[in-house]
């Protein structure tokens, strides 16, 4: 069921197609996801890049099926895991897939882990409750998992509480917990945002290593371009609930195909440039209660023309699977 022999290893493990999600609130309807599509195959890393409010976490939670519905409402799309549309599956089936097929780790490990139970307990409950392991076996396996994520003194650590771990170790522990049922896909929602820069690098290395070893599909959600550069195979840039650009990592950095991506790259401070001020993107992301007509980025875009405020751009193919939702994508890409 979950690892059928003969399944093509480069067919997408997980595919999100045309996902639409609304949040119905007292103040109105917020269109949080507006036709989001992406996919990840075994052994691949997809980075989903965007500011807060772009919808990247909501997409992930929709995949896991842990969105609060209401106030969230799914108004269209499919989420296919091994070809099976999870959105029409029973809750029982979805729960089977959770952590066993698709696992997720979160940003702040301190609040994401239950403070009143030991780390060992929280790993072991996966093994005991979902796999029916005995206490002894579960304890042994938990220690192995902590070892795997390179937590020193695993046997002692397994009996400790989350607040007794440092930030980086806590994140490792959460990774260990997510691997307990050998998932095929791992979604990491801002795994390093709350950590120091040096620790960030370690965690990213760890994730990459694990992914390669287990041939997992890794979806890395982040707002940090720097984090993504070394790890991602492909990058999907999100804005106002849409994927505005989708490209392989190298091309994206070298030759962005969407003004938003270009502006993001511009705003990164660089050692080899001396300047008086940092570049920023003027303005704020649109309120999802009232997304402007046409291209949602046009109020802040340095390339905007009249057309942009009336016609919403569709996907422009830029070759090799690259897409961009910009009327002038081809021009942008051919700039040097």
């Amino acid at each position: 069921m979950l690892d059928e022999p003969g399944a093509l290893t480069d067919a997408p493990l997980l595919e999100v197609e045309d996902l639409f999600v609304e949040f119905r609130t007292r103040d109105g309807v917020a269109k949080v996801l507006n036709g989001v599509s992406y996919h990840v195959a075994a052994g691949e890393t997809l980075a989903v890049l965007g500011e807060s409010g772009s919808g990247k976490s909501v997409t992930a939670q929709a995949i896991m099926g842990i969105l609060d519905m209401p106030p969230a409402h799914l108004t269209g799309g499919e989420i296919r895991y091994h070809g099976e549309d999870l959105l029409v599956a029973s809750e029982e089936r979805r729960n089977e897939v959770r952590a066993e097929g698709i696992a997720m780790i979160f940003q702040d490990a301190l609040s994401a882990l239950n403070p009143v139970y030991t780390v060992g307990f929280q790993i072991e409950e996966q093994l005991r409750v979902r796999l029916g392991m005995s206490r002894k076996d579960a304890r042994a396996r938990a220690v192995e998992l902590l070892d795997l994520v390179r937590i020193p003194n695993a046997a002692r650590r397994v009996r400790q509480y989350p607040h007794e771990f440092s930030g980086g170790m806590r994140q490792r522990a959460m990774i260990a917990m997510s691997l307990a049922l050998d998932p095929e896909v791992l979604i990491a929602d801002e795994p390093t945002t709350a950590l120091d820069v040096t620790v960030q690098a370690q965690i990213m290395d760890l994730l990459k290593e694990i992914q390669v070893e287990r041939k997992m599909g890794l979806i890395l959600i982040t707002h940090d371009l720097g984090v993504v550069a070394e790890v991602a195979d492909r990058i999907a840039v999100m804005y106002a609930g849409r994927i505005v650009e989708h490209a392989d990592a190298v091309s994206l950095y070298r030759n962005p195909g969407h003004p938003y991506t270009a502006a993001l790259l511009e705003s990164l401070p660089r050692l080899d440039q001396k300047g008086a001020t940092l570049n920023t993107i003027k303005g704020l992301p649109p309120s999802l209660l009232a997304i402007p007509p046409g291209c949602p980025f046009h109020p802040r875009c340095f390339m905007a023309q009249d057309k942009c405020s009336t016609d919403a751009p569709g996907d422009h193919g830029l070759g090799f699977g690259r897409t961009s939702k910009c009327h002038f994508a081809e021009e942008l890409v051919s700039r040097v």
Partner: protein
């Protein structure tokens, strides 16, 4: 942990001394004749006054009086009433009754309060939720003695389901209704506190993680949610025991229970200072020790608090 206990015990001492001295001062040292009304309408005869003064050390200054009194207490001598009864005996008879009453009250308020809180906290807006909110509001708004009277009249006198007053043995069964009345206000708080705690913890990040782990819903609520939500509730229940033992004065009065509340009240009105101070010292001690116990319990429930 042992050092923490020791440190807290040491901290208790000045507070204990402070509170008991405060009461002692208010009872004995404030100007005015402490013996007014003891001898009826006429002023007391001088020999009587002299004997009393000597017995109660009234010629010494307040601090010395206090020290002599506390010294006597430590040996178990609580003094005598003006009618020559041993106060320690009176307290010894009354205290267990009050204790039973307090235990019943806490048990009732815990069971009903927590259950109501869990149900409404999990379910959110709805009929049951509004029902609980409204009834707790009423319990908060109506003074305990009114609730006590109403219940006593309706159940005891009118419908005659129960005996309206409690016998001098004060068995557990007889104390259920008075216990309910005594705990009614706290029950309202417990249910609201539980409800809020559960509602807040439902939105916590670790709940989302548990969902993402694919744990069964029942386990998520029973194991992950409850343990975290219990923390503030248990703290409240613990401190309530101390409050209840003292606050029972009103309830004991309505139902005719011979507890220490009644003892103190009568003692004050009859100007039996020694009874008042004796009971207060006991109550303060109990209160402080219970608080210390709760603090230690807190460390057991919430591993983030560990005292070295």
């Amino acid at each position: 942990m042992g050092r923490y206990v020791l440190r807290r015990l040491l901290q208790l001492i000045p507070v204990f001394i402070g509170t008991t001295f405060l009461i002692f001062f208010l009872v004995w040292a404030v100007p005015g004749d402490p013996f007014t009304g003891m001898c009826g309408e006429r002023p007391c005869p001088p020999q009587f006054v002299a004997a009393m003064t000597d017995k109660y050390n009234l010629n010494d200054n307040v601090v010395v009086q206090y020290l002599k009194y506390m010294g006597a207490l430590l040996t178990g001598d609580f003094g005598q009433t003006y009618a020559e009864q041993e106060i320690s005996e009176l307290i010894g008879n009354a205290a267990p009754v009050s204790l039973r009453l307090a235990v019943v009250a806490v048990a009732i308020e815990a069971v009903i309060g927590v259950t109501a809180g869990i149900l409404t906290g999990l379910r959110g807006r709805g009929f049951v939720d509004n029902l609980v909110l409204v009834s707790t509001l009423f319990l908060i708004a109506i003074p305990t003695f009114v609730i006590g009277f109403v219940i006593q009249i309706v159940l005891g006198f009118e419908l005659e389901i129960l005996t309206p007053t409690v016998s001098s043995e004060a068995t557990w069964g007889e104390l259920i209704i008075p216990g309910f009345v005594l705990g009614s206000l706290s029950m309202a708080y417990v249910s609201r506190l539980t409800r809020t705690s559960i509602a807040e913890n439902l939105r916590a990040d670790y709940m989302r993680t548990a969902l993402a782990k694919g744990q069964p819903k029942r386990r998520i609520v029973g194991v992950h949610l409850l343990r975290n939500s219990a923390i503030p509730v248990i703290t409240f229940l613990g401190t309530d025991i101390g409050n209840l033992m003292a606050g029972a004065i009103v309830t004991e009065g309505i139902f005719g229970i011979h507890g220490i509340g009644r003892l103190v009240y009568d003692g004050i009105l009859e100007k039996q200072g020694a009874i008042v101070t004796g009971v207060v010292v006991l109550l303060v001690l109990v209160f402080l020790l219970v608080n210390l116990f709760i603090d230690l319990m807190y460390a057991v429930i919430d591993p983030r608090i560990r005292y070295d």
